[in-house]
Every structure is written in C-alpha cells, then in structure tokens.
C-alpha cells in the first residue's frame, strides 16, 4: 500500500482532480437547467431531458479543451525544461501524456453518447408538442413563432412533413443538428481507427483518420451557433410563470401575462477550445518550420541485418540523451513523420539515428540510401525535434537500472556514449555512481552495432580501472539447441561467443526478483531510477517490482519507474 503511494500517488491525485472537475461541472449544470426559473417553460416541453443534455455538454466543453494539450510535444518539452528545478514526480507526469489523452477521449465518447441520447428525447418531445399532442400550455408555447412581437421557444417550426421524418429533417437542416451529426461521425471514425489492433499494425490509417479531429473541432465551434436552447427573457411588465402557466389563452391580453419572450444562450464552446487550438496550431507550425530547415548528411552507414545508420547535421540542433526526433522524407511520403530515438551523444558534433527495416516507409528509406554513392548526399530530409523522454533524467539518479528490450535498446546507446564522453572529460554534472544495464533480445542480429559499442566501452573502462561503474547483463531470449551446443563447446573462452564481450550472455529471461534484490543489496541507501524501453508487458512487471522493492523510508532504497514509449 505504502509503495503504491510512493509510485502512483501523484498520478492518482491528478486523476482525482480531473474527475472531480468533471463531476462538479455535470452536477452544477444539471441543476442549473433543472431548477433555473428561466427554463421553466423549456422544461415543460422537454422534461428532464433538457438538463440531461446540457450537463454532458458542459463536461464535453471541458474535455475538448483538454484533449489537444497532451499531444503538444513541444509544449511538454518546454514544461519539462522549466520543471528542472521542481521535483522529479512532477516531470514524471508528463510521461503519461498519451494515457491522459486516451482517458479524456473516453470521457468525450461517453458524454457524447449521453448528450446525443438526451437530444433524441428532446427532439421527439419538441416534435410532439409542435404536433399539438401534449397539453394546452405546450401547444401554446410551441405555437410562438419568430415574428415582430413574439420569439419562438420550440425550435421545431415545421409541421407539414411526415411527423416521423421531422426529427431527421430537423437534424439535417439546422446548424446544431448538422454539425452534431457530422462531428459525432468524425468521432466514431477516429475511435474505431484508434483501436490498439489498428494502431499497432497500420499506423498510417490511424494517423490519417485521426486528422478528422480538424472537422471535429470546426463543427464543435459552430455547434451552438444556432442558439436553439431557449430560455425565458425578462419582459416589461414581467411574465409570472406560476400564474400564467394556467392561462395560455390570455397571454398578451391581460396585464399579468404579456407574451413570454425567449432567446437562445450565447455559444460558449469556442471560449474553451480556442486556446488549445491555437497552441496546437503553433505546434504544427513549429514542425513545418523545422521541416524547412536544411539537414546535411555527415555519413550514411549500412549496418548488418538491414539497419541503416544516418549521421546528420542541422544548424542550431541541440539534443539531450535519450531524446527522439521525427523524420520525414518527402521522396517517400509528404505527410508521414516517423519517430526515431537518437543514438548519438550530445557531446558529438552530429546526431545519428539507427533505422531498422520495420515497415513500408523504413524499407523504402533503406532502399533509397543503398543507392546513394559513397560520400554522396542522400535525399532531402525533414527533422522535427528533439523531444524529451524519461531518459533525460538518467544522470540525476545516483544509481540507474537501464532495461532495453529489442529495438528499445536504442536510447541507451545514446546514454552509454554520453557516459563515456562525460567520464573522459570528468564532467562534474554526472551524479551517477553506478549503472546496471540489462539488454534483452531474441537474437542479436539486428544489434551488432550495439555490441560493438559495448565492446569499445568495455575496453575504455578497463583501461581506466572503472570496471564496476557499468554492470551490464545480456539476455538472449530466443536461444535454441544449436546455440546451446555452440556455447557448450566454447564455454571456457574468455569472451562471449555471441557478442565477443567479456560479460557472458545469459539465456532466457531475467529473474527480476533476483536482479532487484541484488541492486538493493549493493545500494542500500540510494534512490534507483529504473528506465525501460520495451514492451508494455515488461513495463507492467517492472512497475510492480519497483513498487515491491521500494521502501517508504526515504533513507532506504527506493525504485522509481520511468517508461518510454511511442
């Protein structure tokens, strides 16, 4: 329980505040429309479906404002930078931006459903009143039309159409109705294409369909322009509803009951969403400007197993360890930007990415690069970034556990290189005393370049006598009989047969309990930062272990879990 608070406390607090605001908005606006005297006549026609429609509308305003903010990456990077002096926990919240974006999206979907269903009831009741099927008061109210001395209450004006089709007709001929249908449709398409199955397999479908949010926000801003939610206005002399509701025939003829006047509410949604829309527009503008900036090639290297290394130079480009960039190649696709973690250290005068063949875009890029002659310039590239991720914090912890699974090992290439440079320069900013590195992969084919890097580091550390600064363990999870035989034959060699490193390769998955025990034993009073770049399932396991082996006592070992994902 205590571990939960240490590791999840702040997230729970943010969620609690968000949920509290949602509940408050819902309840406040429900009672505003349910009890407000200016809606007395409106409620007479609609019943409780009026507040049931308006309450989710308020919650929707709030959430549509929030939904754009977690995906403004530059804004988040800016906030991370300004939080450098603040606590570590604040910055960790910014890692969970995508989780929050999804949560807000679920709330929007739920509230849209409630809002739409309530409005279905509203339209049906308005229609019935207009057809004269309800009581005398309703008929009188519905008959009020927009003329010189009357204003309408019931927005359904038409009567000479098949009554079953009137609600549909109304939905498609009023601003509110049409925008409502269009944006709900856009929302449904966005949601179905964002399902995990589609997103993980066909990112392009997800990404392009997601741009329907432009239609969503455009429609949302105009949704209330028709002002069809009417409230009663003050008249001179005042119209006393308590008395006049029983005398609809006398309206306008007796002094107590002048004809009641109605007006629609001022549309408010734009006030909520305009800020975030402007911010997001700036984000995309920044991306466009960065795209226009020139990217020069320093070197193009084809690595084994279809891995492409690009060493690039860009004016004014400054990076930190473990950050990623978005790369665009107009020769392949004008609109696609793909994220790659940088594998170079900030101390170098270029930045590099290692791109593995993993789909259409990467395959085409590798093909194009293969055809570039030795020392020649590659195709024009656009680079947006760098964007920060959790790995930036790795040097703040006295002790760090770095876990890279498969392709997730890439940010750690950047970190380890940076460590090497910092050591060579004896950089005082380096707070880290000890690093544990766990590399998990099925087979090492695609990562020979990384094994080379580790070899170099190993040698350097031996030379300086800093052998125990970096402890790394490699786990080959996809071993088979031939591997085992090969290892048996060469078991008494000094270096490992698979990687050529001094550290022998382990086979199978690591036993995390043992690893965490060992780290805790060797560092009894430290704060240990755990960084993962790898699959979700592993993240969950590690999160649990961090919670399990953390001590609430701040003097003892505490594990903080950080996850990087795309």
């Amino acid at each position: 329980m205590a571990n939960c608070i240490v590791n999840y406390g702040f997230s729970a607090f943010i969620l609690f505040v968000w949920m509290a605001i949602n509940i408050f908005l819902f309840v406040y606006f429900y009672f505003f429309y349910d009890l407000g005297p200016q809606f007395f006549y409106t409620r007479h026609l609609l019943g409780s479906a009026l507040p049931w429609a308006r309450a989710p509308a308020a919650v929707l305003n709030f959430n549509c404002m929030l939904i754009l903010l977690p995906v403004c990456r530059n804004l988040l990077s800016l906030l991370r930078g300004s939080f450098v002096r603040c606590s570590r926990t604040m910055r960790k919240q910014l890692d969970k931006n995508l989780t929050f974006h999804k949560l807000v999206a679920y709330m929007i979907a739920l509230m849209t459903a409630v809002h739409t269903i309530a409005h279905l009831f509203n339209l049906e009741r308005y229609n019935n009143s207009r057809q004269g099927l309800d009581d005398e008061l309703s008929t009188a109210l519905s008959d009020l039309a927009d003329t010189e001395n009357t204003t309408y209450l019931n927005p359904v004006r038409i009567t000479n159409l098949d009554p079953q089709q009137i609600p549909t007709y109304f939905a498609f001929t009023t601003i509110a109705g049409l925008t409502g249908v269009v944006i709900t449709l856009a929302l449904i398409l966005i949601i179905t294409s964002s399902m995990e199955v589609i997103r993980r397999s066909y990112f392009e479908v997800f990404w392009y369909t997601h741009h329907l949010f432009i239609i969503f926000f455009a429609g949302l801003v105009f949704h209330g322009a028709g002002r069809i939610v009417r409230s009663q206005q003050r008249t001179n002399p005042p119209h006393n509803t308590t008395f006049c509701k029983d005398h609809p025939d006398d309206w306008g003829q007796i002094p107590e009951c002048p004809i009641p006047q109605f007006a629609g509410g001022f549309p408010q949604t734009w006030m909520y969403v305009i800020g975030p829309m402007v911010i997001y527009l700036c984000e995309r503008l920044v991306r466009f400007i960065r795209y226009m900036q020139r990217v020069q090639y320093k070197k193009i290297v084809m690595r084994p197993s279809k891995v492409l290394e690009l060493q690039l130079i860009k004016n004014g480009f400054k990076m930190d360890v473990g950050q990623y960039v978005f790369v665009n190649c107009p020769a392949i696709s004008q609109l696609e930007w793909h994220p790659f973690t940088m594998t170079s250290a900030p101390e170098e005068d270029f930045f590099s990415v290692h791109i593995r063949s993993a789909g259409d875009w990467t395959d085409k890029l590798i093909e194009i690069m293969k055809k570039v002659p030795e020392g020649g310039e590659g195709p024009k590239l656009g680079v947006d970034g760098p964007f920060g991720t959790a790995s930036e914090d790795v040097f703040d912890y006295e002790v760090s556990m770095l876990i890279g699974a498969g392709i997730g090992v890439t940010p750690f290439a950047s970190i380890l290189k940076s460590i090497w440079y910092k050591f060579k320069d004896s950089d005082p900013k380096l707070r880290t005393r000890k690093i544990y590195f766990y590399w998990l992969c099925r087979e090492t084919h695609a990562f020979e370049w990384f094994a080379d890097l580790l070899q170099v580091l190993e040698k350097e550390m031996e030379e300086r006598g800093m052998g125990d600064f970096l402890t790394y363990k490699l786990y080959l999870t996809g071993w088979d009989q031939s591997h085992a035989t090969h290892v048996m034959v060469h078991f008494d060699k000094d270096t490992d047969v698979v990687t050529g490193l001094k550290q022998k390769t382990h086979y199978g998955r690591p036993i995390w309990d043992k690893e965490f025990e060992q780290v805790r034993k060797e560092n009894p009073t430290s704060i240990v930062g755990t960084f993962l770049c790898g699959p979700e399932a592993l993240g969950k396991v590690l999160e649990k272990k961090c919670a399990k082996y953390s001590d609430v006592d701040p003097r003892k070992t505490r594990f903080y879990f950080n996850k990087e994902n795309f």
């Binding site: 279905l120 009554p163 079953q164 179905t192 479908v205 259409d360």
Partner: protein, 186 residues
C-alpha cells in the same frame, strides 16, 4: 499503405455501428418514439451485426489477436461458409441492413456508420481479402520415423583389424585430426 488489411478496420467500424444501432434502437423503443417499429428492427439488426462481427478474422500476415471469448462466435460464423467468408457478401449485407435505420432519427447514426463499414468492407473485398477463422492450433507431434523401432542388430561393417591399426610407417595416411579438442589443458 501497402500492407494494410482493410477488413480489420471495417470489422472495428462494423462492430461499433452494431452497438450504435442497438443503442439507438433501445432508445427509440424505450422512449416509445414515433416510428418505434424501426427502432425495434434496429435492436434486432444491431444484435445480429454485433454477433457477426465479434469474431476477428485471422490475419493474412502477422499475428492475430482474438477478442475475449470469441471462440464460440467463430464456430457459429464459420458454419455459414462462403456467406461469411466472402467480404462482398458482407458489404452488401451491411448496406442492406442499414437502410431501414435511416427512417428514424434515433437510428440514423447507426445507419450511416454501418454504411461506412460496408464501404470499407467493399474495399477489402476488392483487394481480395476474406474472413478466416482463428482456430486453436492442434499440436501435432512429429511422426516417429519407422527406423527408430528397429535398432540395428549388428555393428556397422568395419575393415579387418590389420587395416584399422594405425600404420606407424605411413604417417600421412594415418594422421587424424580431432574436430574437438580432446586434451584438457586448452
């Protein structure tokens, strides 16, 4: 977007449409809206579409992720053979099912969503995709070779002992390199 299987998205869209049609239908019936008969139809149609679309198809390339508990649905859907396998049939079926939903506001959204799903299925059919059931893999043990049952009775033929002894005179012919180190000090 070369490798996309449109049917996967069509399936998600159709399942969502089924749910929306169902919800619209329930609202229409529960609220006793004008034209509630169309709403009642939408309830039935929504349930049917959900049942048809719940089992995911096996992907042509890559790993397929099942929906929870979809096995029984897979079996039911499989029994209709070519009717459910072929996506042209599904496209036209969804197009036909969605039409009555357009006659009443509560079900119009379900109608439009299902229409869109029908179009995506049409695209999938044109690209030659079809529905494959995800069935649990049967573990087949490799058939045991016949020879293992009859071990040899006699040792293999060897040349006579004189030839087998190392000919000390002829070093070249009797030299023999061990493939593995047989000394223990390497």
């Amino acid at each position: 977007m070369g490798k996309i299987e449109w049917a996967m998205w069509a399936n998600e869209q159709a399942l969502a449409s089924g749910l929306i049609l169902l919800t619209g239908g329930i609202v229409g019936v529960a609220g006793q809206f004008r034209g509630w008969q169309f709403a009642a139809y939408a309830v039935a149609a929504g349930v049917f579409v959900c049942l048809l679309e719940y089992p995911r198809s096996k992907r042509a390339k890559g790993t397929s992720v099942e929906r929870t508990g979809q096995y029984c649905f897979t079996v039911c859907v499989k029994t209709f053979g070519p009717l459910t396998r072929n996506y042209y049939v599904r496209a036209f079926l969804h197009a036909a099912i969605c039409v009555p939903g357009g006659f009443m506001l509560a079900t119009v959204l379900g109608c439009v969503c299902l229409g869109i799903a029908s179009l995506i299925y049409l695209a999938a059919a044109i690209r030659g995709e079809h529905w494959e059931p995800i069935l649990p893999r049967k573990e087949t043990r490799k058939p045991v070779a016949q020879s293992i049952k009859n071990p040899p009775q006699n040792p293999p033929p060897r040349p006579p002992p004189e030839m087998r002894r190392k000919q000390a005179g002829d070093l070249e012919k009797s030299a023999y390199d061990n493939p593995m180190s047989v000394t223990d000090d390497e």
